[in-house]
């Protein structure tokens, strides 16, 4: 598959072939990551997270491919690992920073945002299953509230909406706590 084909597939939300294709680069990327101190066991996680970020970014119609996908994924992987390894007192951090600045400067990576999203992942784990489904249907599958109400068996569109807002409120609450911890790690 060419990169252009991958891009088209992703935009059509057909992820299977792009994911399989990009997975072919995993061994190489694993090498790069391990060079900068990433333990082997973490590599698949980092790689998957990077694919997610890539899929997300490429969904944006304004996204333009300025490099090969494999390079782009490598860039994201390194950024992810840098974000993580700051907490781990990684000896290779400086080298890693240099590599990212020199080779992967084009990767638009907002490490603060990624850090927060990481915490929100924990938050989403803590909310109710029903809430998870509801939020997923609305924010990921972009279903209309009426459809969701029907699918999940709410009595009306309105009650589904209210339920969604309640879920969001709960998530807000939890997120606040997590973010506070981010600012005062001791607390």
């Amino acid at each position: 598959m060419t990169d252009q084909e991958i891009l088209v597939c992703i935009r059509r939300k057909e992820f299977e072939r792009p994911v399989k294709e990009l997975y072919k680069h995993l061994p190489k990327i694993q090498g790069v990551l391990m060079k900068y101190g990433a333990p082997e066991v973490l590599v698949p996680e980092i790689f998957n997270d990077s694919l997610v970020l890539l899929l997300e970014k490429t969904q944006d119609p304004s996204f333009q491919l300025t490099s090969k996908f494999s390079t782009y994924v490598t860039g994201i992987c390194l950024n992810h690992w840098r974000n993580e390894s700051r907490k781990l007192a990684n000896r290779n951090l400086v080298d890693l920073d240099v590599e990212i600045a020199q080779t992967y400067a084009f990767v638009d990576y907002d490490s603060d945002k990624e850090e927060k999203l990481r915490l929100l992942d924990v938050v989403l784990e803590k909310i109710q299953d029903r809430c998870k489904t509801l939020l997923r249907l609305f924010y990921f599958e972009n279903k209309r509230m009426a459809e969701i109400a029907e699918e999940m068996g709410f009595s009306s569109e309105k009650s589904a909406k209210t339920q969604k807002y309640k879920c969001m409120e709960k998530a807000h609450e939890l997120a606040k706590k997590e973010f506070q911890q981010l600012q005062n790690p001791v607390a």
Partner: protein, 1020 residues
């Protein structure tokens, strides 16, 4: 709604752009004044992103190819994990937090994945229904049709589209499709929806694919209602006899590979095929015979069938997922596996093997085919040395540190012609040499400089390079066009002695193998097991590259045409092999239109299943140790022996039973029950339905209801000259006498001629199969009982054969007897043979692998010792460094104590700073600039009372280091002066309170630098 909820609603609207314009302006105004609202908007937007990410991750994980256990991370692996040695305890702790959150996540995503799968299953619920098809209303029907059509169009999950299975219903019935049978045929029935494509899996393994709108009623109207398919399979000899299925085309005898009867019905009304429509029938076979044709069964009116109108069978290929194919040369994976552990890999993986194999291609400087004999891989995974030969050109790649010395290259020839010119190329330099067998010597010259001596023997030439200064990469090409070189070995005699590693020779350039592992070939014949088989053969053939290109350039042609072309060009066993390939008459990939998606996917699923099953079996073998395997082998042999004995016993029994004189019953009926007990069930692999797609099959496009037969002519027999009289009374008209050949599925009805019957045989038989011939007579008696007699004879030594024996059976007894008569035992034997071959191959492979591993281990032991030595040295160095660091730290502590005897905490860490860049591109600066620095100082200054009392004032120059992260470190006072000690102390206090600076930059990177600035103390 509560106000908080209202806020959330507004943010939602604001974020997805559904907020009315006027309200938006207000909201944005509110945003500018309310940090809380800002924060809420940000969080909510992030939460939405996080939700999508979670779903995306589930999809990514769902689609990700499976990983080997060694590389898929899990908590359990942490125990084996060596990192904690390198990292500090803190790191381990944080790793644990990572893992614990990760673990939870994984659980969640697994749930999500299962959910996805569930949804998929739901959407295909109708199709999932195994045997019974519930007629649905028109509206429901159209629903399912569209949703499934979508699925296929999108090319998504086909695995959830199972085939329908038939149900056998035995009803007392004497005729089927105009054919009068001896026993009631086993009619299989299945309900199908004619408004969509359907796939039917029959009991004995045939598969029928029915496109939509295929059937019409007697008025020619397309049938929309539920259709019942009646199917009778007669794939085995016993069924053929039971159903009176003679294999005749007029007077020509045929040999059959199986017959099938298909009749579509609406209620009891028999349906026809719509014009231009046809169904696809797949008949499984263990031994594909390309001479087979598809014949139509035409009832002759007297209860028999004549096979007419033969039609060629297209031997389609079916693509399978690329990932399930293995294009690497046989033995390569074992070779890699035996070198484990390698680098960071504890276990070998497909990726590693692939990447190592492809890595070989980097050495291939010429594009022509190369044959790799030997490689050596160093610790860094680079190929240090590769020894290569090709039939026409030899390229030897070598990666060594720059060394000077003698290098020998010897090339073996088959009969080197005298005065043969050949060219040698070392990197860019080209040399020419002439073989001179008489003088046994030739010199390679380059600009009047003898760089090498060539010794030429009648079948070998040896090239010695004198003091050749090898550059980092050396490529040596030996061009000896018309010479058949079959081995070139480059030995560096001042390099390290390299233990030679060999696996089966492979002529294909790895990079071209990599190139065909491409999705773009996924729908061509490249992605078929048949091509894999050919590629494996190519790996061992000279000129493989050309042949591979031949395939690649003719993707639209029939596979057998290309096979034939290669067979013409190849020599020896290769030629024979490709002739065999060509004789399989494989055409090309089945019509790739959407019509066939269902069938294609079915094949893919079956292949996948088989792939996984064989993988499992291999894993199983791998787990057992050698003794266990031997045990299995013994048991297997024993079973096989038992089986053979039992089979012989049955044959004896059968002969006795069948040929016993009339009226005498040598055995009771129970014995028949014993005989038919299927002794082989334990041996047949657990695949109750033999399945098309896991073995070869005949594929026919068919457009008429009724009987169809996969047959080939047996001209030899029809034109037979030798006549053997069969002595039998004419008996009653409801009886019949057949002639057949034991090992062929052929059944020839004989006609009564005055005194008896006559069987014909060829005068000069092409094989021995006719020596085991058989004749049998079946006769229907009153009360649904039958008389059966049979004799096995050799027509070339028998004057005549008598069919006077035999005995009476009931219908079920007859079935049982016929089942063992010529049982599907040839299939079972074939299965056993296949198993046996697999076991032998596995044993062989294990033996090889063990030998390799043993050799490897010896090498590893040596290397290990060296490594331990090196490790010791390294440890010593490391200890020295640690010791020095400790001393430095203590010293710094000591210095700090000296500078700051009161242990005042300045809040500034005193560290040994990394090298300070004296003149960076961008100086470090106080956030906000000099102005802000001044403001900060003024704000923080607390004029010491003592200083006021002493009326002290002046400028204190402070110097300090700014780290790469902007932390101020090591503040000192320049030119300290005891009179100003109080002011100096205050200055240091202020500096100690400073926030982080913007670090200095050099070439775009943050660097450590030092800054100095004055702090003024003035009294009004």
């Amino acid at each position: 709604m509560r106000p908080e909820l209202h806020d959330i609603e507004r943010i939602d609207q604001y974020l997805d752009g559904s907020m009315p314009a006027a309200e938006k302006i207000l909201f944005e105004q509110e945003l500018t004044v309310s940090p809380a609202l800002q924060e809420a908007v940000e969080t909510q937007s992030l939460l939405a992103t996080a939700v999508s990410r979670k779903a995306l991750l589930a999809q990514v994980q769902f689609h990700a190819p499976p990983r080997t256990p060694a590389s898929s991370g899990s908590v359990g692996i942490l125990s084996k994990f060596k990192w904690p040695i390198i990292l500090s305890g803190v790191v381990v702790a944080s790793l644990f937090t990572w893992f614990s959150t990760r673990h939870k996540e994984r659980k969640a995503t697994k749930e999500a994945t299962e959910m996805v799968a569930e949804v998929r299953n739901d959407s295909n619920n109708n199709a999932n229904d195994d045997s019974a098809y519930n007629p649905v209303t028109a509206s429901e029907m159209s629903d399912t049709t569209t949703s499934e059509g979508d699925n296929i169009a999108r090319g998504v999950d086909f695995t959830y589209q199972p085939a329908r299975r038939t149900v056998v219903e035995s009803r007392p019935q004497r005729t089927i499709g105009g054919l009068e049978t001896w026993v009631s045929p086993e009619v299989q029935r299945v309900l199908i929806n004619p408004n969509k494509e359907e796939l039917v899996e029959c009991r004995d393994g045939s598969v029928v694919f029915i496109p939509k709108n295929t059937f019409v009623d007697s008025n020619g109207e397309i049938v929309k209602e539920t259709v019942t398919l009646e199917i009778v399979e007669a794939l085995t000899y016993d069924k053929m006899v039971m159903y009176n299925l003679a294999t005749m085309n007029g007077k020509n005898a045929l040999v059959s590979e199986g017959m099938i009867y298909i009749q579509p019905k609406r209620g009891t009304e028999e349906l026809q095929f719509a014009p231009g429509k046809s169904i696809q029938i797949e008949i499984p076979t263990a031994n594909y015979n390309s001479e087979m044709l598809a014949w139509k069964g035409v009832p002759t009116g007297d209860g028999n069938i004549n096979w007419e109108d033969p039609k060629a069978i297209e031997n389609f290929l079916t693509t399978v997922p690329m990932a399930s194919l293995d294009f690497l040369p046989n033995g390569f994976r074992e070779e890699v596996q035996s070198t484990m552990p390698f680098k960071n890999h504890k276990q070998s993986s497909k990726e590693l093997e692939d990447s190592l194999y492809y890595a070989l291609s980097s050495f291939n400087t010429s594009s022509s085919s190369n044959q790799w004999n030997s490689i050596e891989i160093n610790e860094n995974g680079e190929i240090v040395k590769a020894i290569v030969t090709t039939p026409q050109k030899s390229t030897v790649g070598m990666k060594t540190p720059s060394t000077t010395g003698q290098y020998n290259l010897s090339v073996n020839f088959d009969n080197l012609p005298k005065n043969q010119k050949f060219k040698v190329q070392v990197n860019q330099g080209k040399f020419e040499a002439t073989s001179d067998i008489d003088n046994n010597h030739a010199t390679i010259n380059y600009t009047n400089l003898a760089v090498a001596n060539v010794r030429v023997y009648s079948n070998q030439c040896e090239i010695v390079f004198n003091n050749l200064n090898l550059a980092r990469d050396m490529a040596l090409t030996l061009d000896c066009k018309s010479i058949d070189c079959d081995g070139a070995v480059l030995n560096g005699n001042n390099g390290t002695q390299v233990p030679e590693v060999k696996w089966d020779k492979c002529y294909l350039n790895p990079s071209s193998v990599r190139a065909i592992y491409d999705e773009k070939f996924a729908s061509t014949f490249i992605a078929t097991p048949e091509f894999q088989e050919r590629l494996q053969a190519l790996h061992r053939m000279p000129n493989a590259q050309t042949y591979l290109d031949l395939y690649l350039q003719n993707l639209d042609k029939n596979l057998h045409e290309i096979d034939a072309q290669i067979a013409q060009k190849a020599r020896g066993t290769d030629r024979q092999r490709f002739l065999d390939f060509a004789s399989q008459k494989h055409t090309n990939v089945r019509n790739t239109g959407q019509d066939f998606a269902l069938l294609r996917n079915y094949y893919a699923t079956q292949q996948d299943k088989m792939h996984r099953a064989s993988q499992q079996r291999q894993d199983l073998y791998a787990k057992k140790n050698a003794t266990e395997l031997a045990e299995i082998q013994n048991q297997f042999n024993k079973m096989q022996l038992d089986f053979a004995k039992k089979k012989a016993a049955i044959n004896d029994d059968f002969d006795q039973m069948v040929n016993a004189p009339k009226g005498k019953n040598p055995r009771s009926n129970e014995n028949i029950g014993m005989v038919i007990s299927p002794i082989v069930t334990g041996l047949i692999p657990n695949n109750p339905r033999p399945v098309v797609g896991q073995q070869q099959s005949y594929s026919v496009s068919w457009n008429a209801p009724g009987w169809m037969n996969i047959d080939a002519y047996l001209h030899e027999l029809s034109n037979g000259q030798i006549v053997v009289p069969i002595l039998a009374s004419e008996g009653n008209p409801r009886g019949k006498v057949y002639q057949s050949i034991n090992s062929l599925k052929t059944l020839i009805p004989l006609n009564y001629l005055k005194t008896g019957y006559e069987a014909h045989f060829p005068k000069n038989p092409s094989s021995d199969i006719y020596k085991k011939s058989m004749c049998l007579s079946i006769e229907r008696l009153e009360g649904n009982r039958f008389h059966l007699a049979s004799t096995t004879f050799n027509p070339y030594s028998s004057e005549s054969v008598s069919l006077d024996g035999g005995r009476d059976y009931s219908e079920s007894e007859l079935k049982a007897v016929l089942e063992v008569l010529h049982p599907g035992s040839d299939q079972i034997t074939a299965q056993l043979e296949r198993e046996n071959v697999a076991i032998q191959a596995e044993l062989e492979r294990r033996k090889r692998a063990e030998e390799l591993a043993k050799r490897r281990k010896e090498q590893m032991d040596v290397l290990d010792e060296q490594r331990i030595e090196a490790q010791k040295e390294l440890d010593a160095t490391k200890n020295a460094i640690v010791k020095r660091q400790t001393m430095e730290r203590e010293y710094m502590q000591h210095l700090e104590n000296a500078i700051n005897p009161c242990h005042v905490n300045y809040g500034v860490s005193t560290q040994t700073s990394p090298k300070i860049v004296s003149s960076p591109d961008v100086e470090a600066s106080f956030p906000g600039g000099l102005y802000a620095l001044n403001a900060f100082v003024l704000k923080s200054i607390q004029y010491p009372e003592q200083a006021i009392a002493q009326n002290l004032s002046g400028k204190i120059y402070v110097k300090m280091v700014i780290g790469t992260d902007g932390t101020p470190m090591n503040p000192t006072v320049q030119n300290p002066n005891t009179t100003n000690a109080i002011l100096e102390q205050e200055a240091l206090r202020i500096v100690g309170m400073m926030p982080k600076w913007t670090p200095a930059q050099n070439k775009g990177a943050a660097v450590t630098s030092s800054v100095s600035f004055p702090i003024s103390f003035t009294l009004n």
